[in-house]
Subunit: 551 residues, 2 copies
C-alpha cells in the first residue's frame, strides 16, 4: 500500500510514524512545503524571549532521524498542488527546483493545518508586520529583533498566540501593546474569568486595548503607525498579527472535496473526506463538538495528534476507529497565571441554545496552611440535570490539573454530583482535603437541589443600575473587610452576627448577599432562608469576581 | 433534634458545620478529647522543619470562631467514655475537672479517628521516643528539638507519616535514619515504583534501612539506642515512631457496636453503625474498596471529610445518601518527588485474586523543548478487558495531576482506551500534545490488542538468573548509550539499524528487547514481529525501571 501524507508536522508526522509501526511494508511519502518537518509550533513564541534558548530545540525530530527510524520518504520543500482523484495521483512541486511530478497513491492523508488570517488592510505589507506559524516566520521576527532592537511592539489579537507573543516580547524587554477587537481577550473564557487575566496583564505592564480594531497601517522611516477604530494611533517598531487562523483548504477545494459550513474540510467519523481514499486530520478539518454536537473548528495540537494516529489506523486496518469529536480543552500561560478551559462557555451554550446554570468558586491550589498556595478561580457550567457542560479555571498554580480532571469527568459523562465525590490525591503541598473540584461540585449540587440560589455579577450590576429601592444588598464580611471597600449601596452585617440582627432585614423583600468569595454568603443564605426569607440570592464568586468583572 | 458528635477534627467538625447549614434548629454538641478542634493533622510534620512557620497556622478554625459561626456547643478537653444506647445518652468526662455527665442524644456521630500503633517493645517508654498525631504530640517534639538540639534521629516506619517526618527532620539539619520492616517504603506503591523514592531519599542523605525491624530500645544518659533485628544498633537523640495507625474503637466496643474484620467500626452504605441512631465516619470505620469490593481501612482526610458531610445529610434528611466506598487515592511529597497512587496495586490485586496486566512509562511532565520538564514515571494496572484497576505515579512535577485524572477515570468507569483519547489541556509549560496519560493509554491499549507484548523487570531478572542460553537480550539504544552501561549479557543493536541487522538474530528463539524507557523497544518489537519473530517481548519501563528496581 502506498500512502501520501500532506503536511509533516503534528497530524502528518504522527500519522507517518504510526503507519510505519502498523505496517513495515507500507510505502509512505511525507510531503511538506516547508524546510522542516516535526517542529514544535507551540514552542515558537517562547524562543522570542529566549525562554526556549536554542532555535534547534524547536526541531523535535530531524528529517534524517525520521527517515532512518521510520523509513519514510520525506519530501520537504515540496508542495502538493493538485489531486487527480480518478487516477489517484498527486501533483507535487519541488520548491527548490520548480520541478513537478505526479505521484500515485492508494490512500491520501491531508494534514495541511491552518494559516494565519491576514486581512487586506491598507499598509498591511509593511516590513515591520509579522505573523507566526512556522520556523521561517520565527526566523524573520528574530532577525528583526536583532537588527532593529525594537522598543515598542503592537500585537494584534488577544487569542492564545497573540497573548503568548505579547508576553514573550514583554519578557524580551519591549514595551508591548495588545489590541483586541472584542471586549475581552481569550474568547474561550467567559468575560468574568478573562477579566482576571486582563487585570494580571496590566499589572505586568502590558498595555491592553479592548473593543478596538486595527483599520490601517502606515510605514514610516523607522517605525510603523497602527491606526485603530477608536482613533488611537500606536507607533510600533514591530507588529505581530495574530487574529486567528483558518483551515488550509486550497488543495481540498481544488480537488472538489466537500467543505463544511465552517470552512474546514468535512470528514466522517472515520476521518474520511467525501473521497473514501482521502483522509484528513488536524487544523484543516471541521469536527463535531462533543457536547453541542455542532460542527466547529478547534485548531489544537492534541486533537491533531490523536486524529493523525487514528487516521493511520483506519488507513491500514480499514475503518476500525471512530473519532468521537473534540471537547475543546485548552490552556494558556499568561505571565504568572494559567487560564484553562474545557467544554463550552456561556457564549457557545447560548449560541447552541443549551440552557445552563453556573457557579464560580475561588479556592487555594493547596492547603492554606502550607506555604505557596495560590488562588484558583473555577467556573462550572452545567444543566439542571447535573450534566457538566464546561469549566474554566484561572490561577497561578493547579488550574491545569483541575481542568484536566473536569475534562476527564466530561469524557466519562460524570455529573456535578460526581465532582463532589471525586477522590483526589491530597497532601498539604498538592491540594486540600476538600479539593477545589469537590468544592465546585458541592456548590453546583447545592444549586441543583435548591439549597442555594446564586446571582451572577452581570445580573447584580444590572439590578444596581436599575436602582431598585426595595433590594437589600448585604455584605456579610467583617466590618474590617467592609471598610476596605465594598459594592456601592451595600450594608454590612457580619455573617457571624446575622442571627442576632435578622430584624434589620425585611424578609418580604429581595436580599442579595455577598462575601469575599461566596462561602460566607452561602452560610448567610442558609440562615436567612431558614428564617422565613424567600427572595434571597448569593453573589457567585463574591466580591472578588464582582470587582474583577466590573472594575 | 439533638446530635452529639465525637471527634472535633476532619470528619467531626465537617459534619458539625454541614448539620448547621442543613438545619438552623438542630442542637449540636461537639465533643473533643484534645484541646483543639479543627486542626491540620496533615500539616503537623511540616512545622518540625519550619516549612509551616507558625504553630498557629495549624489551627484551621478556633473553638470560638466555630461556635460563633456555627452555633455548635463545643466541648473540648472532654472525653466520650460510654454510650447508653437504650437510654440514648452519652457519658462525657470533663478532662479538666474530672466531672462526668450524661448527655442525651437523638443521633450520635462517631469520628474518633485512629491512634498510632505503639508496640510493647522493651524500652519503648524512653523519653526520646515520640509519636505524631496531634498538636500536643507536635509540641513535645518541638520542645525536645529546642532543649536537646538532636543531631541524629531515627524514624521507625516508612509510611506517609514516617517519610514526611524523616524529610522534615532532615530539613531541620538532623541526620536522619528511616527504618522499615518491609523491603520497601510506601506500601501503596509497587516495589519498582517505590524504588525510585528509595534512590531519591538516599541521594538526599537520608539513611534507609529496609527489611529491618526494631526489637528494642535502650535509654542511655544522653541518647537512646535502637536495636534492629539485623543486629544493627542505632544511636539516636530522637526517635519518632510511625509504624501505622489503628481505628479508635474503645467507645464503639464498649457500646457493643459491630466491628469489622479489619478492626474498624462496621457501617452500612448510609454510614450507620449496627445501631441505626449511631453513625460513624473517618479513620475509625472500615470501608468498601470500590474496585475489589473488600472491606479495608483507608485512614485519609479526603474520605473522612466527605463521609462527615454525607453522614450529616443522612442524619438531618433521613438516609438520603449512599457512600460508594473508597478508591484509595493518596499522595506523598518525598523531598523533590511526589509519589501518588489511586486504586489497587499488585500486592492488593493478588490478595484480592484479581488478574491484571500492567505497564510502566516514563514521560516528561511537559513538552521537552520547554525548560523545566521533569520525568514522570507512571504505572498502570488494568484487566484484559481494559478496566483500570490502579495507577501509580512518581515524579518531581505533575504526578498529582496524572493520578487525579486517572482517579477520575476510575470513578467514571473509563477504560485504558479512554485514557488514550482523553483531551487534556496542552500548552508547552503544562503538558504535551500526547500527555503522559495518553501515552500510558496507548501502551496499555497496544498490549490489549496484541500489538505489543511486555516483560516486567522482575521476570527478566528471574530469566537472567536462570541463565537461559537461548534467550536473546537486545539493547536497542545507540552504541553510545550502550557504552554507558547496560543489562549484563545484552547485545547492542540500535533500533534505527535493526532492519538491516535482522540476520544477527534467530527468529525462532526468544528475544527480549529494551531501550531506555520502552519506546524504542516497542518500535523494535513492531519491526521484529512483522519479520517473522514470534517470541518477542519488550522490557516495561526500559533500562530505567530495571536499574532502579534491581540497583
Ligand atoms: C505559534 C503557535 C502556537 C501554538 N500553541 C499551541 C498550544 O500551546 N497548544 C495547542 O494545542 N496548539 C497550539 N498551536 C496549534 C497547533 O500547533 C496546531 O493545532 C497543530 O500543529 C495542527 O496540526 P496539523 O497537522 O493540522 O497542522 P500543522 O502542524 O500546522 O502542519 C501542517 C503542515 O502542512 C504543510 N502544508 C500545508 N499545505 C501543504 C501543501 N499543499 N503541500 C505541502 N505541505 C503543506 C504546512 O507547511 C505545515 O507545516 C499553536 C500554533 C502556533 C502557530
Ligand atoms: C501527621 C499526620 C499527617 C497526615 N497527613 C495526611 C495527608 O497528607 N493526607 C491525608 O489524606 N491524610 C493525612 N493524615 C490522615 C488524616 O489526618 C486523617 O485521615 C483524618 O484526620 C481522619 O479524620 P477523623 O475525623 O476520622 O479523625 P481525626 O481527624 O483524627 O479526629 C478524631 C478526633 O477524635 C478525638 N477523639 C477520639 N476519641 C474520642 C473520645 N472518646 N472522646 C472525645 N474525643 C475523641 C481525637 O482526640 C481526635 O482529635 C495525616 C494524619 C497525621 C496524624
Ligand atoms: C474547618 C472545617 C470545620 C470546615 O468545614 P466545612 O465548613 O465543611 O468546609 P469549608 O469551610 O471548606 O466550606 C465548605 C462549604 O462551603 C460551601 N462553599 C465553599 N466555597 C463556596 C463558594 N465560593 N460559594 C458558595 N459556597 C461555597 C460548600 O458548598 C460547602 O458547603 P456544603 O457542605 O453545605 O455544601 C473542617 O474542614 C475542618 O475541621 N478542617 C480541619 C481538619 C481537617 O480536615 N484535617 C484533615 C486535613 S489536614
Ligand atoms: C515527533 C513525532 C513524529 C512523534 O510521533 P509519535 O511517534 O506518534 O509519538 P511518540 O514519539 O510520542 O511515540 C508514541 C508511540 O510510542 C509508544 N510509546 C511511548 N512510550 C512508550 C513506552 N514507554 N513503552 C512502550 N511504548 C511507548 C506509544 O504507544 C506510541 O505508539 P503507538 O502510537 O503505536 O501506540 C510527532 O509527535 C511530531 O511530529 N511532533 C512535533 C509536531 C507537533 O506535534 N506539534 C504540535 C505540538 S508542539
Amino acid at each position: 500500500m502506498k500512502i501520501i501524507i500532506v503536511g509533516g508536522v503534528a497530524g502528518g508526522a504522527t500519522a507517518a510514524a504510526r503507519i510505519r509501526r502498523n505496517d513495515e511494508t507500507a510505502e509512505i511519502v511525507l510531503v511538506e512545503r516547508g524546510q522542516y518537518i516535526s517542529f514544535a509550533n507551540c514552542g515558537l513564541p517562547y524562543h522570542i524571549s529566549g525562554i526556549i534558548e536554542e532555535r534547534e530545540q524547536l526541531l523535535v525530530t530531524s528529517e534524517e532521524a525520521f527517515k532512518e527510524r521510520y523509513r519514510v520518504d520525506v519530501r520537504s520543500r515540496t508542495e502538493a498542488i493538485g489531486i487527480d482523484r480518478k487516477a489517484r495521483t498527486m501533483r507535487l512541486r519541488n520548491l527548490a527546483t520548480g520541478d513537478e511530478t505526479d505521484e500515485p497513491y492508494d490512500k491520501l492523508l491531508l494534514s495541511p493545518g491552518a494559516e494565519p488570517v491576514r486581512p487586506k488592510l491598507p499598509g498591511i505589507d509593511s516590513s515591520r508586520i509579522f505573523g507566526l506559524r512556522n520556523i521561517p516566520d520565527l526566523d524573520r521576527i528574530m532577525a528583526h529583533l536583532k537588527e532593529h532592537n525594537p522598543r515598542r511592539a503592537v500585537v494584534i489579537g488577544g487569542g492564545f498566540i497573540g497573548i503568548e507573543v505579547a508576553e514573550n516580547l514583554h519578557d524580551k524587554g519591549i514595551f508591548t501593546t495588545l489590541v483586541e477587537g472584542a471586549d475581552q481577550i481569550l474568547t474561550p473564557l467567559d468575560y468574568g474569568m478573562a477579566a482576571i487575566v486582563h487585570s494580571h496583564m496590566r499589572d505586568k505592564n502590558v498595555e491592553l486595548y479592548l473593543n478596538d480594531k486595527v483599520e490601517q497601517f502606515e510605514e514610516k522611516d523607522d517605525h510603523t503607525v497602527v491606526y485603530l477604530g477608536s482613533g488611537r494611533r500606536l507607533q510600533a517598531d514591530l507588529v505581530v498579527l495574530a487574529i486567528g487562523v483558518r483551515p488550509e483548504t486550497t488543495l481540498a477545494r481544488a480537488a472538489n472535496l466537500e467543505l463544511g459550513s465552517t470552512g474546514g474540510i468535512k470528514v466522517n467519523g472515520h476521518l474520511q473526506t467525501s473521497d473514501p481514499d482521502i483522509y484528513a486530520v488536524g487544523d484543516a478539518i471541521e469536527v463535531t463538538q462533543t457536547i453541542s454536537g455542532q460542527q466547529v473548528l478547534i485548531p489544537l495540537a492534541g486533537p491533531a495528534n490523536r486524529q493523525g494516529r487514528m487516521a493511520a489506523d483506519n488507513i491500514i486496518f480499514g475503518n476500525s476507529k471512530v473519532y468521537r469529536g473534540t471537547q475543546g480543552t485548552s490552556i494558556l500561560k499568561a505571565f504568572d497565571l494559567a487560564a484553562a478551559t474545557t467544554g463550552l462557555n456561556e457564549k457557545q451554550l447560548n449560541a447552541a441554545g443549551i440552557p445552563f446554570l453556573s457557579c464560580i468558586t475561588h479556592s487555594g491550589s493547596h492547603a492554606s496552611y502550607y506555604p505557596g498556595a495560590k488562588q484558583i478561580s473555577l467556573k462550572l457550567l452545567f444543566t439542571d440535570k447535573g450534566q457538566i457542560l464546561g469549566a474554566q479555571a484561572v490561577g497561578a498554580d493547579g488550574a491545569d490539573k483541575r481542568i484536566d480532571v473536569i475534562a476527564t469527568a466530561i469524557h466519562g459523562n460524570l455529573k456535578v454530583e460526581d465532582l463532589a465525590d471525586l477522590e483526589l490525591a491530597y497532601a498539604p503541598p498538592f491540594g486540600s482535603a476538600k479539593d477545589p473540584i469537590n468544592i465546585a461540585g458541592y456548590v453546583a449540587t447545592n444549586i441543583l437541589n435548591g439549597s442555594h440560589d446564586m446571582i451572577e455579577w452581570k445580573e447584580l450590576r444590572a439590578s444596581l443600575g436599575a436602582k431598585d429601592p426595595e433590594m437589600q444588598l448585604i455584605d456579610v464580611r467583617t466590618a474590617e473587610e467592609f471598610g476596605f471597600g465594598s459594592i456601592p449601596t451595600a450594608r454590612n452585617i457580619d455573617v457571624n452576627h446575622l442571627r442576632e440582627r435578622l430584624d434589620e432585614l425585611d424578609p418580604n423583600k429581595a436580599v442579595i448577599l455577598f462575601c469575599q468569595i461566596g462561602l460566607r454568603g452561602y452560610l448567610a443564605y442558609r440562615i436567612l432562608t431558614q428564617h422565613g426569607f424567600t427572595q434571597v440570592r448569593n453573589l457567585s464568586g463574591g466580591y472578588k469576581s464582582y470587582s474583577w468583572a466590573v472594575e
